[in-house]
Every structure is written in C-alpha cells, then in structure tokens.
Symmetry: C2
Subunit: 428 residues, 2 copies
Amino acid sequence: VVRPGSTAGVADLVAAARRHKVALVAQGGNTGLVGGGVPHMGEVVLSLRRLDDVGPVDRLAGQVTVGAGVRLETLQAHAAAAGLAFGVDLAARGSATVGGMVATNAGGSHVVRYGSMRSQVVGVEAVLGTGQVVSRLGGLVKDNTGYDLAQLLCGSEGTLGIVTLVRLALVPAPRDLVVGLLAVRSLAETIELASELRWALPGVRALELMTGESLRPVAEHLADPLPVTADAEAYLLVEADGGSTSVPRRADPAEDLIAAVASTVPGTAVVLDSAVATAEHERARLWRYREAHSEVAVSLARERSVIAHKLDVTLPTAGLARFCHDVVALAKERWPGSEMLLFGHVGDGNLHVNVIPPAGSAGEGIDAAVLELVMAQGGSISAEHGIGVAKKPWLERNRSVSEVDAMRAIKAALDPAGILNPHVLFGR
Amino acid sequence: VVRPGSTAGVADLVAAARRHKVALVAQGGNTGLVGGGVPHMGEVVLSLRRLDDVGPVDRLAGQVTVGAGVRLETLQAHAAAAGLAFGVDLAARGSATVGGMVATNAGGSHVVRYGSMRSQVVGVEAVLGTGQVVSRLGGLVKDNTGYDLAQLLCGSEGTLGIVTLVRLALVPAPRDLVVGLLAVRSLAETIELASELRWALPGVRALELMTGESLRPVAEHLADPLPVTADAEAYLLVEADGGSTSVPRRADPAEDLIAAVASTVPGTAVVLDSAVATAEHERARLWRYREAHSEVAVSLARERSVIAHKLDVTLPTAGLARFCHDVVALAKERWPGSEMLLFGHVGDGNLHVNVIPPAGSAGEGIDAAVLELVMAQGGSISAEHGIGVAKKPWLERNRSVSEVDAMRAIKAALDPAGILNPHVLFGR
C-alpha cells in the first residue's frame, strides 16, 4: 500500500509503475461492493486517504475544492457550515471518499433531485495512465473547450486516471423538509405515484419504493410497528424540500405533500394510508424503515446461516412493475423458501434486489438468474456500484460489442501501459 | 451535402468515408458561431435534418427519444403537450437541432437550474469514427457499466461520432413564473446578489446580468424606456418558477421574489429599484431587454459600418466583477470610441462580451485582447459555443498540453482514420 500526500506524489508513483510495469489499484473509503478498489492479482494499492484537504467554500460560486481522500460526511458538514449542502448522500457517508465516489459515479437517495456524483463534478485534477497530470479546478461551469475529461473519469473505476482533487458544485441547504410514508394499493400504482410526484411536488428529493413483503420483516426486525397499515402491496417514502429559501414559506410543507399526493390520485383509493413527518426525529424514524433494509437483509441471512445476495440494478421505468413481479416469482419458483427484500430509488428506476436463500443453501445461481432477467428486460446490471471484478463476466453481455470496443480503445489511449486497475471492467 | 434518413444510412456514409478517406462535417441547425458545422477544406457535409423523428413522451420516466435533426422548438412544444418541459432553452430555438446541441453541449438561460445539454442526455445512438454503432436508449438514469460514451460525445463537436438519436430527460413544467428586473448599485453587488438568490429563492431558473452601459443603449434602441431607474451601474434579470406543482401555492411568487431579494440584502441600498412581472406579456417585456442585446449589438455596428466582435467566455465567479471592469477599461483604452455591450448568464459565470469598434475600424486585435484577458484571469475562452475553427488557435493556450494530448489520444482512439470534422478543435 502506498499513500501519497499530493498530486505530485501520485504522479511519481504512476511514473514508477509505468517504468516497472506494476499495476496500481486506487482505493478510497473501501465501501464498494464489486471489488473495484481492492487488489486481486498482486496490484499495489494506491490509497488516497492522505489527500484530505478541504478547501474553503466559495459561496459566491457555490463550489468547493476537496482532496480525493475526503470523506463524504466531512464534505457534507463543511458545506452545511457555510449554509449550503452537497447534492449526494448515501449510507456509507462515514467511510466513502470523494475520489471513490467520482470513480464510481456514486448515486444514493437524492439523484432524483440533484443527479449523481457526475452532476456535482465541475472539474478535477488527476494523473492519467499516460503519466500526465490534468488539472481544471477553476470552477468554470460552462467551459466548452474540447472533451470533458472530468466527466470521462466519472465512473471509470480508476482505469483511466487517478483523481486527486475535485471541484464540486454545492446546492442550497434544504429547509422545511417533509417526509411521507405512503401505503399504496399496488406496486404499479406506487411507481406511477412516484413519477407523478416528480411533476407535482416542488422540491421532491427522494422517492423510495419498498414492497410490502420487504417492509414488513424490516419493521418486525426493528421492533417498530409501522405507523401506517401493514397490509399494502407496496410503500413509497417521499422526501421533499419545502423550499430552499431563507424566506418563510406560507404553505405548510406537510400540507403541500398531502395536497400533491391528492392531486395525483384524485378520487381513488390508491393511497391506503399515510404518515407525514416534519420534525427531525420523526423524519428519521420514517427513513429508518428504508435505511434498515440492507442491514436487515444481512441479519435475516445470518439467522439462517446463509449469505444474502445483493444486486443493484436499473430497469426502464416503464418496465419496473413487471420486473418486480417477475423477479419475485423467479425467486419463489427456483429457490423455494427464499426471502426477498425488494426496494430502491424508484425515481431513478433503480432497484436493490436482496435475496436471502433458504437455510442450508448458498443460493447458487441467484445472481445470474436475476441479472439475466434484468438484461432480458432492457436494464442495467449495475446502477450504482459499477462493474469492478464482481460483474465483469456480465459487462460484455449488458453492453454491446461496439460499446466495449470503444471503451477498450479509450482505455488504451489514456492508459497505454495498462497499469491502472487492469483487472476490472473488461480487463484481464 | 448528404442527408441520410437513418442511423444505418449514417453508418453507411461513415463506412464509405473511411474507405475513400473523405472527411465529414456533421451539420444540424447551422446556428453555431465558431464554424464547427461547416466545411472548410472540401469536407462532405453530413446533414442530420432528416433524422427528425419525435418519439412519444414517456411521462412515467420523464423522458423522450428524438432524432438529431429535431429542432429545439419542436422538442419544447412536444414536451409541453405532455405537461412537461425541456430543461434547455436558447434564442436559436427555431433553428438549433438536438444533435447540434449535444455536439456543442449547448447552454442558454436555464443552466443555473437544469444544467447544460449534457445534463439532459440520458443516452444516445451514434456512429463512431471507427464505423461502429453504439446505442443506449433505454432511458437508464443510473447505469454504471463502464465509460459513459454519451457524455463523452457531448461537446465533442462532431469529432468522435455522429449522434443520430438522443434519449433526453424532461423537467416539470414551470408554474407561476415570475421575472424581476433589478437595478443594482454596483456590478460587484449584482454578482453577489445573483449568487445569494441561488440560495434564497426557490425555483430560480435564470440570473442574467446586464451592465448599465449595455442596457441603456438597448432600451433606447427598443424605444422602450426602462421600468426602473436608468442610472444603475448594473442590472439583474431574475426568473423564478413559483413551484412546479399542480397544487396552488399560497405564496404569491412576486412576493416571494421580492422577499428573497430583501432577505439577501437586508437594510442596505443595494437594490436601487425593481420591476416584477408575473403576467406573460409583462414577463416577455422584461426579457426583451436582455434578449435584444445581441441584435442591438449588430444594429449598432451596422450604423457605424463596422462588424461587432462577439465573445462568449466564462470566468471564475470570484473574478467576474474584476474581469468586467478590466475588459471595459481595456476596450476604452485600446479602442477609443468603441462601445461595449456586456451581459450574460451570471449564475454560470458566463459573459457575452460584445465590442462595437469605432467607425472606420475593423477592431483588429479585439478578440485576441479579450481572450488574453480571459486566460490571464483563469477563464474559459468558450463558454457555450465550443472551439470550432474560430477559436482553434486559442485552444492549446487555454487548455494544458496534458489535456490536449489526452484529447488527441481519445480522438485517435475513436476516429482512427481522422474523417470526422478533422479541422476543428486541435485538428489540422
């Protein structure tokens, strides 16, 4: 493990790696789930943790420059101290680093409002695989002077260059947050409701789907009975910003949310029940049902002495309801006794499919079966976490030959010696 | 000029061009200002106008797929008919095409709210310079499966591939629009006010700066006296969306705007005067002062029988006020008798510098002097229009050797035969 303390240090390391034909794997907070930041075949780990400088918030531009090793939580607190906010949030905020989030184009719960990490990146400083250092940190929002190298590095999983510094856009601090937990008659109607709330509710910033079969065991595990009926087919967690304004709004954000929901489903019984919270601890309680899904999946698996299969996929929104039904039916049929927690960022078409195999089963074939279904229905085999090594066998089936050829050509152009994370994506 | 009617037709043409070593220049609405879409050295023009299919609006996903040849105006009307909107707007909406807007990463007035064209692109179908067709039109918002080729094509000025179809994100239809024209005591305070309004005013979607020296001749030319004091150093045009909601908001958007302005400049005389409009024709009247700048520059030049020099640049926000003062001083000193219209999208740090030379002068050296100043102060020589051929001599001074080397490597990777728009950017 090498831990350089500056861009120059990273450049020296890349130069040495090129000379000696040694492969490097960049590593941030090590929170990835597909093995994109860990050595597999004797690579040297390039830890970016020491690049933890946090620049002053430029309130005039609404931007900040931070080192790749800065943790998300630190960035969030830094932005908040200046009265602003950072647009990406995710559960691993205490460990995930900005560099890793750029390399994987991290998503999370607020993509529906602010976009993914890609949308926050105004510029980067990076050492390319060619050994050259590129740096564009002036915070120029509009800068149509050739190819956008920063955007190309977003989501490239450390295979083209090592990002050392990032210029990030900030967003207005949220005010008057409101969270609603809606019990909905059917899954398909939940998806429609989520879509309509994007158009009807100002400031919507999270739209999280949970199936009833997923939420009920979570509520039971938390020993916190649901504040709404437990009998719904699906649930929608909605978070909205009542207005990022220093001017007090006259409308009550809770009323806004209820009115928006009512306006999208007029005169029907689509929404069976709802709970709305504005106080912080009440909002946190509603969020807890959603955020606990991942840990409950692990707990349920542990009780059965099995491993939970966790897949993170995107489907075209129009096919989301069908996929949910099909993937549940698939698991029931092929792995009887398995349990499924199905939830996700429905506003982005992004589902987390967590399958807990029956006791005594390794659930062999589950990942393949789910990803096959995703591909057959036009989806993406990796919504948020990237390809890494775990999904490498699937890449060339999920992307066309032309696309992978183009990626390989770009890889060869920017890392001709093949020293940057050579075993991920389409790598050896 | 060749006008293919399908992606396959474009692919055939690219294959033929590769075989015969003939260069192609893709052309959309031909509204660019830097010569990026016109032949310079005998290239064949590849017109994309026939690719004008407009797919159905997918309201569930908030997306639509359209051909590269679809005009912006058509797209906007199509989105509006489905109760949604498209996030990019610009004056050339009647001519500019989606393909050209992707190729140049078009900006416009609403970037501060929705981002540039890049932010609207969910996926593309394109013929690369290698002859291969890439297609990712499923509308997957989160899709971290390798390099984002669509994003790489955004702003690449037709040098890497020919975009034939585009999957675009739509935004909520604006409601209760309010426009304010604020006369501000000083230029620096105008820039600060614009910045603070981004944080204080929900739904701000345009922040347009005009200097007093720029706005006064425009108002005179329009024969429409300003509804606010004509003596201010600078003016800010603000447009905000009162809430993209189907639920009537209780707060009056005009009051919101005034309250937001008051909250950002408490107890001072920063804002000398203001006019606020909510009715469509009144909003249009205020916008007219801003939108007429470009045509008034041409008229003023014509009256003197000279050519207006129009430069489109971005500065770091922190250096914007200094640059404005310096560029005005520069013109006065070196081209006495010249007139300057200085305005732009201040929320993005983007300025349009229009210099009308004194009568009898070609204003030789004006472009160079302005761009030198931009570069010396850390700015971008092309905010919105790209490099084309007009700004080619400047590219390698505005971007580092490392950056241009990386761009050249990517160009060689995706267009190895060098047949796509070979004379723009860093081309021959």
